[in-house]
């Protein structure tokens, strides 16, 4: 008995982690998947009902708006975070004085919660006392900036706050990537007559392909999951104009008590994330095995 215990101790120690994840991640996802095929309302029902919830989901105007918003948000969030992140990383890489201070400033939003970020930007962007008033008081009397309460433009306020929060993170990833490149490569290129721009555009940035890939995966992941920022900034409004899938899911589940429908929306999010993550994990594993 004791011998058996000793021999299997590592596996016994491993068991809680595997058991908890098996139950709370895999078991729960399967449960959600099953429920998405039932006609559950307030309480889960276990008779299968087919793909009715998915048909209902893709026929719902609110869900289509949510998906639309997700696409707009993801595209802009990605572009701005990556462009700003790369510019800051390259500029900081030029033996800048006070680099430490600047880096700290660019990255501190990552330490704040989306609720804090949302609260701050909501105040800054509010039309009565925020930025709009600032410009009017400075003498630009016709200045308007009412995106937060404008159906068409409200989604872009979420982009502004999201980029503010995450651009510094991309900067950190690229700075680490640039620093890992041998100095000699850059010097050799310069002797061959390449200017700084060509060095970066032709040599260094193409070398950063893995960093691009990582940033892409992480940013898309953040944007599919975005929930807190919308709750704090717009609550999905004005109207339902800034709804996104994560918000749709919780509202359908906990306010409208449409458990089956919300399970279907959760599974759509799950599949979207899987489509991005599985290739990523695969390539990471291959890289590790190749080492």
């Amino acid at each position: 008995m004791l011998k058996w215990l000793e021999k299997n101790l590592p596996k016994i120690v491993m068991a809680p982690a595997v058991g908890l994840i098996g139950w709370f991640v895999y078991g729960f996802v399967l449960w959600t998947l099953y429920i998405s095929f039932t006609n559950s309302k307030i309480l889960p029902k276990y008779e299968l009902w087919g793909v009715g919830q998915y048909v209902k989901l893709w026929g719902s105007r609110k869900w289509l708006i949510a998906v639309d918003n997700l696409l707009i948000f993801t595209a802009l969030f990605l572009i701005f975070c990556v462009v700003i992140g790369i510019i800051l990383a390259i500029f900081l890489d030029q033996k800048i004085r006070a680099e430490g201070v600047l880096r700290t400033i660019y990255l501190y939003p990552m330490a704040l919660s989306f609720i804090v970020t949302g609260t701050a930007w909501k105040w800054i962007l509010n039309p009565t006392l925020g930025i709009q008033k600032m410009f009017i008081d400075w003498g630009f009397e016709n200045f308007t900036f009412d995106w937060l309460v404008n159906r068409e433009m409200a989604i872009y306020t979420i982009v502004i706050a999201g980029v503010w929060q995450s651009a510094g993170f991309v900067m950190a990833l690229f700075l680490a990537g640039l620093r890992s490149v041998e100095d000699e490569i850059v010097k050799a290129a310069k002797i061959d007559g390449a200017n700084l721009f060509t060095v970066y555009w032709k040599i260094l940035l193409p070398m950063m392909r893995p960093v691009f890939f990582t940033s892409f995966v992480i940013l898309v992941h953040i944007s599919i999951k975005s929930y807190d920022l919308i709750v704090a900034l717009t609550q999905g409004g004005p109207g339902i104009s800034t709804t996104m899938p994560a918000l749709y899911m919780t509202q359908t589940a906990f306010h409208k008590s449409q458990v089956g429908l919300s399970a279907a929306s959760a599974m759509m999010m799950f599949m979207a994330v899987a489509a991005v993550i599985i290739p990523y994990l695969y390539s990471e594993l291959r890289r590790e095995n190749a080492r």
Partner: protein, 300 residues
């Protein structure tokens, strides 16, 4: 060869001195402009929290406050002293502390053990077990919210701090395992093998050989878990409302509550109070914070 490269590089540097000077001014200009963009909201939050509502209405976002007036901070933290409808952060701040401390401890401990086994007591199929756990880093939590809500109900711990400790411990395990596994992989296994030949057991090897060198990764893990759990809103708002709510939920409720007059100064003071613990950690231990971010920032 090396020397040749260096000397011709020096010549090149001399030639382009003037272009360089212009370029450097441009560099600093862009960097400072971005720094202002990132600093702006924090500045606005701090000055707004120090103003009276009267000052807020008369000035602009950037106006300097007339004095150091901490009234809104006191209201945000301890309320105005009347009974019903007086929401303030103090009790929820403590809820968050009571939630964060055990959840960080348990998830770090379980992750350290799992990372130790996966690297130093390898067994057949351990790579698959790691992958099995790793996938937990990526799932969108919407896919587990519904069964989790029911499970907490069945266990009788919905709407309680204990329930949130359980949730955060479980969903932290993939990250903590990832951190410790990647760290222990780089520690030579020869040490462990030698100790095993000398007859040292599973726990003795962990405590005598691995734990003493684990300080950096423990710091990274604790900071990562602390930041994630402190800043969580999804789990907090779904599984715990009312009195057991963590601080982010309370902050959101305070800001959204539609009382007659919107007090932006109190809102900003509240937001700063909710953000200060993680900001302090970031400023004091930025290096470890960034290390955690770059190796585990897949969680939204």
């Amino acid at each position: 060869m090396q020397d040749k490269i260096h000397s011709s590089y020096k010549q090149l540097e001399q030639k382009s001195k003037y272009t360089n000077m212009f370029l450097r001014w441009f560099l600093y200009f862009v960097l400072v402009v971005f720094a202002l963009y990132f600093i702006f909201p924090l500045y606005v939050m701090v000055v707004t929290s120090l103003k009276t509502m009267e000052e807020i209405r008369q000035g602009t976002l950037l106006t300097w406050p007339s004095g150091l007036n901490f009234d809104s901070w006191l209201v945000a933290w301890g309320g105005r002293g009347y009974g019903a409808g007086d929401t303030f952060l103090k009790p929820y701040f403590w809820n968050s502390i009571k939630m964060v401390v055990p959840a960080v401890f348990f998830s770090t401990f379980i992750g350290a053990m799992a990372g130790y086994v996966l690297t130093k007591w390898r067994f057949k199929g351990d790579k698959w077990v790691f992958l099995f756990l790793l996938f937990g880093c990526f799932i969108p939590y919407q896919a587990i919210l519904l069964p989790m809500a029911r499970t907490l109900g069945v266990l009788g711990i919905s709407n309680s701090v204990i329930g949130l400790v359980l949730v955060h411990t479980v969903y932290g395990i993939p990250f903590t395992t990832l951190f410790f596994r990647n760290f222990y992989v780089s520690i030579p296994s020869e040490l462990v093998k030698a100790a095993r030949i000398d007859g040292a057991g599973f726990f003795k090897i962990f405590f005598k050989i691995l734990l003493p060198v684990s300080t950096p990764i423990i710091v990274v893990t604790i900071i990562w878990q602390f930041t994630q759990i402190w800043n969580d809103f999804l789990f907090g708002s779904t599984f715990s409302f009312g009195e057991a709510a963590p601080i982010q939920v309370a902050l959101n409720n305070m800001v959204l509550s539609s009382t007659s007059v919107k007090e932006y100064n109190v809102d900003m003071a509240s937001a700063i109070i909710a953000g200060i613990p993680t900001l302090i950690v970031y400023v004091l231990a930025g290096k470890y914070f960034i290390r955690g971010l770059t190796s585990g920032a897949v969680k939204g």
